[in-house]
């Protein structure tokens, strides 16, 4: 008798607790995000998440810091594969295409639909340059959140010392300046550019585009142009900087090393993302400035950065929660705050109309430069198996930087071969097949 009563008592308690928690519980969703600079920026993102959570009680966002862009992709996909698709992920802007191709993410229209928001109207507030990477086959799959372009940071004190009046605007001027700034015996390098994975590919694309080329086929994600003249010219240029002109170290240089060298005065010029702008502004203890990436044939740079995507397999409630968070995070004031804090430019045009933003730009002209370079920016490489295809040329670039005997033609040919092989499964299903 007593035991039965105990059991029914416990059962009642359990049921009522369950009911209570379902009623009281906010919709809990996971938000995975990378950060360009660990520490400060990941902290700031967590602050934003907390702000969102306390501002309303329908949605509870759990912020998961997932390291680099590549790591974030790995983690989010692993999670989805294991049956726990994350509702919101801040994904490298060019991965959205591949994820959409493999049917892993949800079209944004589905999310926006829960709040009756028209995606076309929504996207019209964003810069045209950031839109192509957000679409696949005409459907919107991601909302840009933070964007960057590669930019040239330079040490004004060193420039004055070497008698260089203005920042280089062409490749020729660039090499000249770098030669003047380089000191013997590696005491100071004229220029340093990160050649580790991800950064490497981005910069190769930037140089190829400055050299007049396109790098990949934006209309068909199964084609890449590593073997073409413009790409080869870019590969040769970067290689020569290290091997011929000797204005930068040979071997692979990690982005951490690039920034640390800049701060310690071991290098006069660096190419880094505009996403590191506020980091540089805070830590450079000398006069510095930024300039457009020098052109060869034309001024052109790929955009970089990250956009918000949502993985397939979430419940309608999670989708609604995801959109609530996404629209909050990309509101002009929040996205503007993030831009000022990080140095990324805000992909949402309307953010620049706000008074805080106008004030900030007036006080910090270097932040304006990133936005100004936007008129020359184009989409980021996005193909089938983007990471593998990207690494195909990155490995060769790293080889060129380390091995003086390797010829550019040979390296480009190998990169092309490896990339084509990786894209083969996709080609077999599309361009190489007879589609009904």
């Amino acid at each position: 008798m007593r035991i039965e009563r105990l059991i029914s008592g416990i059962a009642a308690l359990a049921v009522s607790t369950a009911l209570a928690t379902t009623v009281l519980a906010a919709e809990r969703i996971e938000f995975m995000f990378p950060a360009p600079v660990q520490g400060k920026l990941s902290r700031e993102m967590q602050k934003l998440v907390k702000e969102f959570n306390t501002s309303q009680s329908d949605v509870e966002v759990v912020g998961v810091f997932t390291g680099s862009y590549d790591d974030t992709k790995i983690k989010s996909q692993a999670s989805a594969e294991a049956g726990k698709p994350p509702a919101v992920v801040l994904m490298s802007a060019n991965f959205a295409t591949e994820l959409a191709m493999n049917d892993l993410i949800v079209p944004m229209g589905e999310l926006a639909g829960t709040a009756n928001v028209d995606t076309e109207a929504f996207m019209s507030e964003f810069w045209p340059a950031v839109r192509p990477n957000a679409y696949f086959n005409g459907t919107l799959y991601s909302i840009p959140f933070q964007n960057s372009t590669p930019i040239l940071y330079y040490n004004k004190d060193h420039f004055a010392e070497a008698g260089i009046k203005k920042a280089p605007e062409t490749w020729g001027e660039w090499v000249d300046a770098a030669k003047k700034l380089t000191k013997a015996d590696g005491e100071r390098w004229g220029l340093m550019m990160p050649s580790n994975y991800d950064y490497n590919g981005w910069l190769v694309q930037a140089l190829t585009m400055s050299n007049g080329g396109q790098f990949y086929n934006p209309a068909y994600p199964g084609e890449i142009y590593y073997d073409h003249a413009s790409t080869k010219g870019a590969l040769k240029f970067w290689r020569d900087l290290a091997q011929e002109y000797k204005v930068m170290p040979t071997g692979v240089t990690d982005s951490k090393q690039v920034s640390t060298s800049f701060f310690t005065g071991k290098t006069s010029m660096i190419v880094l993302s505009t996403g590191a702008l506020s980091f540089v502004r805070e830590n450079a203890k000398f006069a510095y400035d930024v300039a457009f990436l020098p052109r060869n044939v034309r001024n052109a740079v790929p955009i970089g950065g990250a956009s918000l995507v949502s993985f397939k397999g979430t419940t309608p409630e999670q989708k609604k929660a995801a959109w609530t968070f996404i629209s909050w995070l990309t509101a002009p004031d929040k996205i503007g705050h993030w831009s000022r804090f990080t140095g990324y430019f805000s992909p949402r045009q309307t953010a620049y109309d706000l008074p805080e933003m106008k004030q900030f730009i007036a006080a910090n002209p270097d932040a304006l430069r990133a936005v100004e370079q936007l008129r020359y920016s184009q989409p980021w490489i996005a193909t089938y198996n983007t990471v593998g295809v990207r690494k195909a040329v990155e490995d060769q670039m790293q080889a060129l930087l380390s091995d003086a005997g390797l010829s550019v033609d040979e390296a480009a040919a190998k990169a092309q071969k490896d990339a084509d092989e990786l894209m083969q499964p996709y080609i077999e299903k599309t361009a190489g097949a007879l589609i009904n």
Binding site: S42, A78, K84
Partner: protein, 283 residues
Amino acid sequence: MRSDPLGRHMRHALYCVAVGLFCGIVLVWSSPFLWMLVASFRPDSFGAAGMASLWPDFTPTLEHFGYALEDGDFPLWYLNTLILVSGTLVVQLITVTMAGYTFARLTFRGKDLLFAIFLFQLMLAPPVLIVPNLTTLVKLGLYDSLIGVMAPYWGSAFGIFLMRQVFRTIPRDFEEAAIIDGCAWWQVLIHVLIPLAKPGLLAFSVVSVVFHWNEFLWPLMVINDPSKQVLTVGLVSFALGAEGASDWGLIAAGTLLVTAPLFIAFVLFQRQFVNSFMFSGVK
């Protein structure tokens, strides 16, 4: 007569050189940790030319530790790591004791075959099996759980061999005395054998705890939920940002926080540590 090709002075000089060389090796060996200590307290961790200097010529600051504790969720990671190593160890102790006892004391059909099956597992190191093990975990619904991280290690072939060895070397007299007194097998096991096997059990425990405290790849693959993250994975996500500039003082401080517990435990229980590692491998 002993041959003495080198003169006394020569030998003495050589000895001094050897000692000097040895001291050099010791210094080089410990330099990474010395740097870690110095860098985590050094203010202004870059831009300053002396970032790599081992000499503490500055006023120490605790700001890096403050940021580290703010950025990373160290208390949570400590807790999860503790849960992980103790959960793994407890089950291991039970399974290896039972299995070790069985192979040491009992006779049964198929003993050699079963033993070979366990032996074989020693060669199939769990780290190499991450891909299929992950699939198994997903099917069992253990993905993204600490239990999922522990499970593959619960049948430790290494532990079974160790315990078998340990039980074998215990003289039978004690057991026989207990049996004459009327004890059943499990009483013999619990009251006689296990106490005598304490050194071996301790050795195994130390090896297991250190191994699982320091494990990285497997927890990285299994766990996504930040509330279940362990120290090693936490440290990496903390030390490597995306577009990569780095605050070395912060990284040094974070690394110190991760390694400190085992260091402290080592300093306090040095003899047990060393003995157990030595015990764990030989013969």
